[in-house]
Symmetry: D2
Subunit: 277 residues, 4 copies
């Protein structure tokens, strides 16, 4: 007996659920869990189906190809553990949370490697027996540095790349190569602050909440499809440094929860938004 997850995304038509579940039924696959969502304004249909049984992928996909409308996209994903590469710069909080969660099994993931543009987090990473690569950007332009990063990343063939406070902007080439497979975390404020020292700006502005947003990376910096967001309350007694510390807590929690959703194949991306089933 195997477990697989079927992700279906197509234009909405009457009877789609019936057609898909009929096929599973016909293949004697037991539906462990099924969620679907129809965006009625755009006419998009999404379904996530956890299946259990003996899979004949060829006949199953043939049946789906025949049943689903023109241009339907579906994926049949096995239950094997996902492989990620984590990119970091100097801050340990997001990396540390993922390392601990992976260590104690609360995040079921294979951390293939951690790559930083500084060596600051090498010791922490290696303490968890995970290879660390320091790829300095010293004396390199963005393209050259990214090229060296990609050489290291590609050898691991990761399912996803996690930017755990990686403080460099990625080029469209990089983003395109790992389309909707790069997850980033960044602080979020109300109102939003542009430019340097956001926590200093937040402090001067006297914000009462501090947030974090985890999203897929697109060319539009910090503006890709949102996976998870959360905030915590702060007040005037918080210094800019206190706000940054509070921000670290919410950043790590939001990134971990977003990553868990992605690793469990719960996240659909369409347009610039996500559907999480």
């Amino acid at each position: 007996m195997e477990k697989k997850t079927l992700l279906t995304h197509c234009t909405d038509k009457p009877g789609l659920i019936a057609k898909i579940t009929n096929i599973c039924y016909k293949h004697q696959l037991n539906i462990i869990h099924n969620n679907e969502y129809v965006d009625n304004t755009s006419g998009h249909f999404f379904m996530r189906t956890e299946l259990e049984g003996y899979f004949n992928d060829a006949t199953l996909t043939a049946d789906l190809d025949q049943a689903l409308p023109e241009g339907a996209k579906y994926k049949l994903i096995g239950s094997s553990r996902k492989k990620i590469v984590i990119l970091v710069t100097k801050e340990a909080h997001c990396l540390g949370d993922i390392l601990i969660k992976s260590y104690d099994g609360s995040l079921d993931v294979d951390i293939a490697a951690v790559i930083g543009n500084y060596d600051k987090l090498q010791t922490l990473t290696e303490r968890f027996d995970i290879p660390y690569h320091c790829v300095s950007h010293d004396g390199l332009n963005r393209q050259e540095h990214e090229q060296k990063m990609l050489e290291v990343i590609d050898q691991y063939q990761p399912d996803y790349i996690v930017l755990a406070k990686y403080m460099r902007v990625l080029t469209p080439t990089f983003v395109e190569k790992y389309h909707h497979r790069i997850i980033n975390i960044h602080h979020s404020f109300l109102p939003a602050f542009i430019g340097a020292k956001p926590y200093q700006q937040a402090y001067e502005r006297g914000v009462k909440i501090i947030g974090a947003t985890a999203h897929f990376v697109t060319d539009d910096l910090d503006e890709g499809p949102i996976i998870k967001q959360d905030v915590i309350p702060v007040d005037h007694t918080f210094s800019a440094q206190d706000m940054a510390q509070a921000g670290r807590d919410v950043e790590k929690n939001v990134l971990s929860k977003a990553l868990a959703n992605v690793l469990n194949d719960k996240v659909f991306v369409y347009g610039n938004k996500t559907v999480i089933l």
Copy 2:
């Protein structure tokens, strides 16, 4: 064209979604929104299906009866506005929030009447052109008072009874008569406080959060199936009175949200829990 919601609850079997959606398909009913949930530990299947089209209830239910497993429960609910009766004592915050939300249309409900064991909230209620009945418990035992309450309630034949800070305990007879149709709100604390003056106890205990729980009423006082819960942070600067005020805000918000779920036919009850689809 009509809109109806089909709520199905039965033991889980392979192909149930297909069978039900096939029937809707055959009846040329468009599925606007479909959610289901399977509790794999107990083997319960739940599905909420919003349908649009021309309904032939007789043939539709005949098809469902034939397709669904032994002992399946389902309801086909029209889109007509639900009728509620609100029971109160002296506190205005929960009643007031429902009155305003009903007034501005953010809660789509027909408030048939408000009934209180005091007349304190009569003026507020009547300002919204809703009949208010004062049924005092003076000189009556619980059964006698409830009997008089029921005489007033029954004439309105409400779909649901909302206890908006109604501070009297209901008898099993009353609860049984409106089985899973009575919604109550009560404050909740960590840890829980038994007995009188809970906010005074919470203050003395120095709790850091104050909560509220909306639930269906069962014989087990304050222990029925939970519909909605929320909390707000408090600290040592809150007096017992401040905590009570903070509690009122969370109580009214939780009750309104729970009521909205119930009125939209999103809530299934089984065992002592709810499934909200």
Copy 3:
């Protein structure tokens, strides 16, 4: 015996707390509650002192003038109930919450009048025996309309003006006249959305939280000193309309809490931020 609140704001100097509390002590005024905050980065000192006793304002202020550093600002505020005027357009949720809270005493305020540029909320307001003025902007330019608004407002001499979803932009003249005495509520999103239909944009962007910000109005639209902020979680199942409804709940709660802080003389404004003691 009277109760008054002393608000002190000046540049920080050693011994300020001692000096001020000594003066209260000398005047045999009992300190019921005292909070202070020093912003060490800017060197600002803030103190809120709740006093009880027999007040000789003349000698008390003379002592304070003598004791406090050059340019110190302080206010000695009596415990009389504050008077507010509420400006509205068409949405009832914020107005309704304030009306109910004032009605049941959980907000201790005198609502002198409600003024709208439409008559939609007249009935609701008058049901609470509060005068409603409809000042239509039809055929008037911004200055002309504001002039007519001010004529109505000024006759009430309010302590504060509450913009309870008043959807018109105020001119610098208006804002200046009621400097730091106008409280506004607006929805807030991560990321922020500029332009029309913010909830539609939020829906299309797939945000996971929706927030509200209550702030004092300055010339910089929606950018004055923040008094209170909060958010609620949403997800992909929320339509733009659902998000707007969820937003209404958080808007009214945030505005009420901000208003309570202002009415209790807990809010200091300096620069573009608030200190709440």
Copy 4:
């Protein structure tokens, strides 16, 4: 120049703030930050004063002894880093969070040792170059096991003992020896669940939020003075295992925040509650 924190707790009297700040002023100690709180119902006065300057502890305490009322308690605490010992059983999430926060400096603490009644967390601890002691309870009664634990703990003379999911009940002797110096974290539910498998009970009960409470340990199990509480939302789709995972996240966050408050000398305990300044 040194930094010290003065914590004062006594019965409330007029002029206390003046007296204390006068003494600091006289000693030419600069008040960096001062917070006080008066519990008017019980007549307790609390003040936390961060001081900077050249300290003459002997004359300073002499002045305080002379100025403060009968039975006043005060502590003058240096800015040296606190030493803790962490007790664990098998769960890594709370320990891991403290290890990472200590490693990256966001928690300023000296983790002297980790002691477990199993060896499961030895590797993780030693990866951070912190000594781990496994003190098995096999074949020992509670007193015998605690005696062996104390022998290990005492050699480190910790300021505080952190129970990071240490699943053994402590005896009154142990609790008394480290009076108000033992910090525990435990899950909290609304309603509270007694007995084994709380997450299973929470699942069966269909709770909508899951919480955690950090508190000082007293003889009354899980009922000592509360330092920090928080909750996260859950729903019917959460299995008992999902709830436990969600609980781990809130447990670790609440414990870390409570620990930060304790380490920064912000927490007063009186009666069965805390005041956090």
